[in-house]
């Protein structure tokens, strides 16, 4: 019996290694395209490493494929793996970002400037962000959400489908809202902002 088992196991291992190679090939192809998407949408300024995310997703999927050979993988499961991996990466990036800001917590004080909001009395970059948030809060309600979504990188058609308005309305509301925002920011001291 043992004599028969050996060639059979060899054949199986040959089959299995060929199968593994094909699986790996599929996952590598997927990983490359996912990395491009991460680079496009998450950007380097968020502190996310697209290579890390790609590798992590690939490893998670591979482990699941190895652990249960009969399990089918619907697209929603794959999406969930991507989502949890990106969330973890965002949390890690957030911690790194917070740590990197710690030495700069003390704001640079510039007594020469006495503008309306005096933004340089606080941490430079963060303060401009706060100023921007305040200006957005002053926008009319119906323009606020389209402006916020546009600034988060959504296009007019995406804003329209999320808010339930027409594409033309989403485009108009976000455009006018951003123009108002620029004008308001100029009024508040960023006088060289081009409207």
């Amino acid at each position: 019996m043992q004599d028969h088992a050996e060639p059979s196991s060899n054949a199986e291992s040959r089959l299995s290694s060929r199968h593994h190679a094909r699986l790996q090939e599929v996952l590598i192809r997927y990983g490359k395209r996912l990395r491009m998407l991460v680079e496009t949408h998450c950007g380097r300024d968020r502190g996310l490493d697209a290579d890390d995310i790609e590798q992590e997703v690939r490893i998670k999927l591979w482990k699941m494929l190895e652990s249960d050979k009969t399990l089918d993988f619907p697209a929603s499961y794959i999406q969930k793996v991507v989502a949890t991996t990106v969330i973890d990466a965002l949390r890690r990036a957030e911690v790194r970002h917070a740590e990197s800001l710690e030495p700069d917590v003390e704001p640079a004080v510039d007594p020469s400037f006495a503008g309306p909001m005096q933004p340089d009395r606080h941490a430079g970059h963060g303060n401009w962000g706060q100023l921007l948030l305040r200006c957005i809060a002053e926008l009319p309600e119906r323009r606020r959400m389209p402006v916020q979504l546009a600034l988060q990188g959504f296009k007019a058609d995406e804003i329209a489908s999320m808010t339930g308005c027409s594409v033309a309305a989403a485009q108009q509301l976000s455009y006018r809202g951003i123009e108002d925002l620029k004008i308001r920011l100029k009024e508040l001291g960023a006088d060289e902002i081009d409207a």
């Binding site: 019996m1 028969h4 088992a5 089959l15 094909r22 699986l23 599929v26 996952l27 997927y30 998407l37 991460v38 949408h41 300024d45 968020r46 089918d72 993988f73 619907p74 697209a75 929603s76 794959i78 999406q79 969930k80 991507v82 989502a83 949890t84 990106v86 969330i87 965002l90 957030e94 970002h97 510039d110 007594p111 400037f113 503008g115 340089d120 430079g124 970059h125 401009w128 962000g129 706060q130 921007l132 948030l133 957005i136 959400m145 916020q148 979504l149 600034l151 988060q152 990188g153 959504f154 999320m162 808010t163 951003i178 925002l181 620029k182 920011l185 001291g189 960023a190 902002i193 081009d194």
Partner: protein, 190 residues
């Protein structure tokens, strides 16, 4: 000391031209992390549903605000929306790769039935013999018994009568009669 003008140009403030992408990066940096309100924080399933184009019913309004106020959630939603087609393609590829082939299924069945490989060989040989015999038999040749009536046809009396000149089936005489036809006064005879 830096003047406001310098600050506007060194990246610590909105730059001189403030194009929209500059505003975007400033806003996204200002809205990093999760929203302050717990109601506006989305679960993974909620983000996945939104990415799939579904609405969240009563939660939709809060979810929208959560996306608008948190660049982390917005980034996740954008990425998941864009990777929908990619994940579907991967799922199809994996399904095709993991679907067992006929040989694998036979092997698995045989193993589960605890049959030794020698029986497998015997079964395969038997199937081959049956298949060979089946292929060699001509589908057009009829059995011998079927040919017999063709070679020796029997004369069965169908009507129980003969078609000789003396046949009286219709109670009429078929012989040429010397008597002229009298049906219509006898004018039909030439």
């Amino acid at each position: 000391m830096k003047s406001m003008h310098d600050k506007l140009n060194d990246g610590s403030a909105p730059d001189a031209r403030m194009p929209e992408d500059r505003l975007q990066s400033l806003y996204q940096a200002a809205t990093r992390g999760l929203p302050g309100s717990a109601e506006r924080r989305l679960s993974v399933d909620e983000v996945l549903a939104m990415a799939a184009g579904q609405t969240l019913g009563a939660r939709q309004c809060d979810a929208m605000r959560g996306i608008a106020e948190s660049s982390d959630q917005a980034v996740l939603l954008r990425l998941l929306t864009e990777s929908q087609a990619l994940s579907s393609a991967l799922a199809d590829d994996l399904h095709a790769l993991r679907k067992p082939e006929l040989l694998d299924r036979l092997r698995a069945w045989w193993r589960s039935a605890a049959m030794p490989p020698v029986f497998a060989s015997a079964a395969i040989a038997l199937m081959a013999v049956i298949g060979f015999q089946f292929l060699n038999s001509s589908p057009l040749s009829l059995p011998q018994t079927a040919l017999a009536p063709v070679t020796a046809p029997a004369e069965a009396p169908m009507f129980g009568g003969a078609f000789e000149p003396s046949d009286q089936m219709f109670a009429a005489s078929l012989e040429p009669s010397e008597q002229p036809d009298r049906m219509f006064g006898g004018d039909f005879d030439s």
